[in-house]
Amino acid sequence: MNLPSEQITINLGPQHPSTHGVFRLRVTLDGEVITDVEPIFGYLHRGTEKLAEERTYTQIVTLTDRLDYTSSMINNQAYVLAVEKLAGVTVPPRGQYLRVLTAELQRIASHLMGVGFFLQDLGASGTPLMYCFRERERILDLFEMLCGARVTVSYMRPGGVFQEPPPEFWPAVRHLLDTTPDAIAELERLISENEIVLARSKGVGVLTKEKAIDCAISGPNLRASGVAWDLRKADPYDVYADMDFAVPVGSNGDSYDRFLVRVMEVHQSIRIAEQCYRDMPGGPVRSELPFFFRPPPGDAYAHVEASKGELGFYLVSDGGIAPYRCKIRSPSFINLTVLAEMLLGWKVADLMVIFGSLDVNMGEVDR
């Protein structure tokens, strides 16, 4: 018997995928199969780029915390690097090391959240996410010790970092670096070979190498497709040139590879943090700049390997105390451009898995 059927268009969100921020997907389904996807965003738009035009260079640091709120330290770093390039400021070595150390700790925290929410989207509600959060909390405790805030850190300043860590920071970092590998291993035992995880994510939502490069995808999503591109190696900033670490790559570019690359990157981040802890030089943490400083007219672009991909700041100065223009290249926004294509032909149950594996943060998409 041939039943008459028609396609149905449904809205997912703006609440549903809110584990990653407020986001809405308008999905057209043929039965359970996705035939059309239209991502709709802008619910978190705050006008960061415009706000930056009326704030001084130091005040903008507080805005960058709120871009990708799971990796504020790295956002801070990208922004201050752009300002330093614009104003021609040099950073003392201790400041650079502290930046790299905190950025790597932040990357661990952010990847743990990405992994946790991916598993949550797979239907493992609660348990693995809480394991990830438990580890992330310990990193946030360190940030609280360092700069008084856990998420909106505002720790870095043009010219270095804001202040010297308190003395108790160092034993706490040592303890964290000693215990985190075990905790990650525990997480891996829990999920990496789990049949349900494998069945739901292996081969699901494949992003080919060519497609990823064509769409300017960056970060772990690009590396999972087999492209060894990491700005920490390709265009080293701060002291990454002195660091010894590997760039993990995936082979198939499916959801499982994206998940695995993040877990492997956590191990590399621990390695970098370990080296920073070992080689931390003495001296000042910051070269003093006045609060209202005026960079010479000109423009500068600086980019970093953020936890989600290439995060870039383009600043134009007209010689005033605030930038004339601030453009933010946010990785999540660009990574989202392939989502529609990756979803076509998959079942609606795979939608959240594929979306979760991209690890998109809406605070950065809408900025």
Binding site: Q59, L63, M145, G148, S154, P171, A172, R189, E195
Partner: protein, 187 residues
Amino acid sequence: MPYGLGIAKGMMVTLRNLVRKPVTVQYPEQRVAQHHRFRGEDFVWYEERCTGCASCAKYCPQGIIKIVTAPSGEMTQEGEKYKLEVFDIEIARCMFCGLCVEACPYDALHMGSGFERARPRQSDLVISVDELKASAKKPSTWFRPQLQDRGYDPFQPGDDVSWQDAGREKSVAPTYEEMLQRWVQGR
């Protein structure tokens, strides 16, 4: 690999965690140790030090500090000290970035340590000058590490800091063992 082995391995991890002591705390009754650098609300303001220069208001990215001053007639030889008529911090829009504290040239403004100031109305979320004058003087040691060096702890009841003490004096730093005890094993 036989089917189910991965799940069995996962179950082992779950089992081990089942018998471990919990990491969560029951919040209002129990609290985790909060670091004394925590940038919280309840701004601490020392009237004796404040000259009404309004640097804090100028540096605030949100523009939420409102200052109205009048000449006081005191200290005319050192340039005039102004009397504060209004010093309102509208913390509903405050992001606790601490730039105001960083800006104050006279160490008159400090971050506090609280985080429990939820109110039903936005208009209640303004810290007025009277409240600042009356508030407990428990500054956060963020930006004032010298307070930590003298062993000050904002979470000890009754350990208020007078304006003379909030300055820049140094004393003995805690030992490595003390730090380990409090910040690593104590958590």
